[in-house]
């Protein structure tokens, strides 16, 4: 993984001291909250329902064990013993004290981490495929490009006061594990007919109040020109953006209002100009960064066979591991979706255990997925049983990847000031209703995503079954959406009809799955059946 050089470290250290001074001045009354708020947000510090919340960046979802142990240390020392992984592959703590925040940032800096650009009108943490560098289906590791883009855009003056937040995702596989086209700017590394690597570019995606799937705006941008292209996209948005109306500031609105053809024309025009400025990454710089992502020294001649005598272990292997590019290795998915638990939450002790396992079995490499789970990307198949046993002892060996209980849920009204309704209790009730593993396996791939407000941090638009919490005259109410997808078959879920109360929405989900089981044809996932038969049979079952 990328390691800070002296400049990176100096920048982050200086930023910590700058914030220490800002926080001290706020506490001493030398700044009002209106003056301080934009400064704390630039360092990831929000004020939420119960306390300050600190969101820490995990670039493209990659951590090493030292960093994960530090996150555990912060949970234990400054918070209440746990952290919460988010749908942008970050982690956040919900019980932070302002007086502690500078010390926390200083501790993070010692392991090359920070909270910069996890809030505010900036380019947010760049998300990527959690299997990057390990996936059997990728054409290259996308993370060197993510790191280059991260470095080039962090503190870039043109991108420091954007009209609104801006989200970038990057993958290098035909399979989309990063909700690619739900981003403002979506980049997929592809090869052209000459075998050269470049980027397929999509723009104008996003969830929230007005959801749009990113439009394809360029089939192939040569890799060495991608920063010019990114700058062109941002410049076109920046020059048109409606800074007068918060509901129209995201780039997706501009792309929609201009029309993606006209938006693309203007980007291409600007791109031609940007190319004349010579601001793209020199090849040597790419190679310098890429050297940090050299594949680990995979052993050769390892056995492929896995002893499946223990049925529980075999089930875990079947569901929680994925194909690795290196023979004899597997990708291990660590579920943070225990039935009855809180999705994405992990205790400090569990962080330490995962860090230990990564160090011992996965080349010191841990990933965070946008679905709020963890990944050990490089585990020898012969070590899977030992890893499973250790995870099981830590309460981390649940079998539910992409199943009905692997629910994405935002913190909702239990923690968030923006929320209108609680998300986590709904996820818990659904998970409890479908807890039986045989029932989950019978239903197969079924992605439920729950947001507690229209901002859609829980990705409800992209759920096979989506749930949106709203406030109806002071009471929590939940709308049901069907047919969304955040995968390569991206689609926007549609609201089925009137909303439900807390128990009613769980019943509605169950009725929805009953229709699927009744109507499905051989090999169809829930989403396939929905797309084939349409919404009416589901509405009839739910409201009839």
């Amino acid at each position: 993984m990328y390691r800070y050089d002296q400049y990176d470290q100096a920048i982050v250290d200086a930023r910590v001291e700058e914030f220490r001074d800002q926080a001290a001045r706020r506490l001493a009354g030398q700044m009002t909250e209106d003056q301080f708020k934009p400064l704390r947000l630039k360092n990831g510090l929000y004020l939420q329902l119960h306390a300050y919340m600190l969101r820490i960046a995990i670039p493209y979802g990659t951590l090493n064990s030292r960093q994960l142990r530090m996150l555990g240390h912060i949970a234990r020392t400054y918070d209440r013993g746990y952290g919460h992984f988010t749908t942008r592959q970050n982690i956040q703590y919900h019980w932070i004290k302002l007086q502690d925040a500078p010390d926390i940032l200083a501790e993070l800096a010692t392991v090359e981490m920070h909270a910069i650009q996890t809030s505010g009108e900036s380019i947010r943490n760049i998300s990527a495929d959690q299997y990057a560098g390990a996936a059997a289906d990728e054409i290259c590791d996308p993370r060197p490009w993510a790191e280059l883009i991260r470095q080039a855009t962090t503190f870039h003056p043109e991108f420091s006061y954007l009209p609104r937040k801006f989200k970038i995702a990057l993958i290098a596989s035909p399979t989309d594990r990063a909700a690619l086209r739900w981003h403002d700017l979506a980049l997929r590394i592809v090869r052209n007919e000459a075998g050269e690597e470049g980027f397929e570019v999509f723009a104008g995606g996003g969830m929230g109040r007005t959801p749009f799937i990113a439009y394809p705006i360029r089939a192939f941008c040569p890799a060495e020109q991608i920063f010019s292209y990114i700058q062109a996209v941002l410049r076109v948005w920046n020059s048109h953006a409606r800074r007068d109306n918060i509901h129209k500031q995201r780039m997706k609105i501009l792309v929609h209002d201009l029309g993606h053809e006209e938006f693309t024309r203007q980007v291409e025009e600007t791109f031609a100009h940007m190319l004349t400025l010579g601001t793209d990454f020199p090849r040597a710089e790419y190679e310098r960064i890429a050297a940090y992502f050299t594949p680990p020294p995979f052993e050769t001649g390892l056995p492929e066979e896995i002893d499946r005598a223990d049925p529980e272990f075999a089930l875990w292997v079947d569901r929680q591991t994925a194909a690795h590019k290196a023979p004899g290795y597997a990708i291990v998915n660590v579920s943070l979706k225990r039935v009855g638990g809180i999705g994405g939450d992990i205790t400090a002790d569990q962080m330490d255990i995962v860090a230990d396992l990564a160090e011992r079995y996965s080349f010191d490499d841990i990933r965070v997925s946008h679905a709020q789970n963890l990944v050990l990307p490089h585990v020898r198949k012969q070590d899977l049983h030992a890893v499973w046993q250790a995870l099981d002892a830590a309460g981390l060996a649940d079998v539910n990847l992409d199943l009905v209980t692997d629910i994405i849920a935002c913190p909702g009204l239990d923690y968030c000031t923006l929320a209108n309704a609680r998300s986590i209790p709904i996820a818990q009730k659904i998970a409890q209703r479908f807890a039986d593993i045989d029932r989950q396996l019978e239903l197969g791939e079924l992605k439920i995503k729950i947001s507690g407000c229209i901002n859609a941090c829980g990705h409800h638009h992209a759920g096979h079954i989506g749930i949106l919490g709203v406030d109806r005259k002071g009471t929590e109410n939940y709308q049901l959406l069907l047919g969304g997808s955040g995968a390569e078959d991206t689609s926007l879920g549609k609201i089925t009809g009137p909303g439900f109360d807390e128990d009613g929405i769980v019943d509605a989900v169950e009725k929805t799955t009953d229709v699927y089981l009744r109507e499905r044809q051989d090999g169809e996932r829930f989403l396939d059946t929905y797309r084939r038969i349409g919404v009416e049979p589901f509405k009839e079952a739910i409201y009839g």
């Binding site: 706020r26 506490l27 009354g29 909250e33 004020l47 329902l49 119960h50 306390a51 300050y52 209440r80 919900h94 019980w95 932070i96 004290k97 302002l98 007086q99 809180i342 009204l413 239990d414 923690y415 929320a419 609680r422 986590i424 209790p425 818990q428 002071g474 009471t475 929590e476």
Partner: protein, 98 residues
Amino acid sequence: MKILTGNDLATGDVIWWTGSGWSRHVEESADVGEKGDEIAQTEAAARRVNGPYIIDASRDEAGIRPAHIKDRIRALGPTVRLDLSLKPADPTIGTWVI
């Protein structure tokens, strides 16, 4: 009744105006009547509270209950982590929020 709430500047704790100071316990809230804005302004300027605002609440035999669920969650803690709430020993306290 009208009560005044906000967060402690240094710790971020949820706090409630008692009539003479701030408490972490909503049941100690005072009815601020029409004086909420004035108190909020004074207290925020003195850095004794961050982001104060006035809410509707009712008083019954169980104490003071904010009108909106968001403020009841603020008053108690997350309903999904009652062990972290202000009343971790009361297994029924979650029903007070709902």
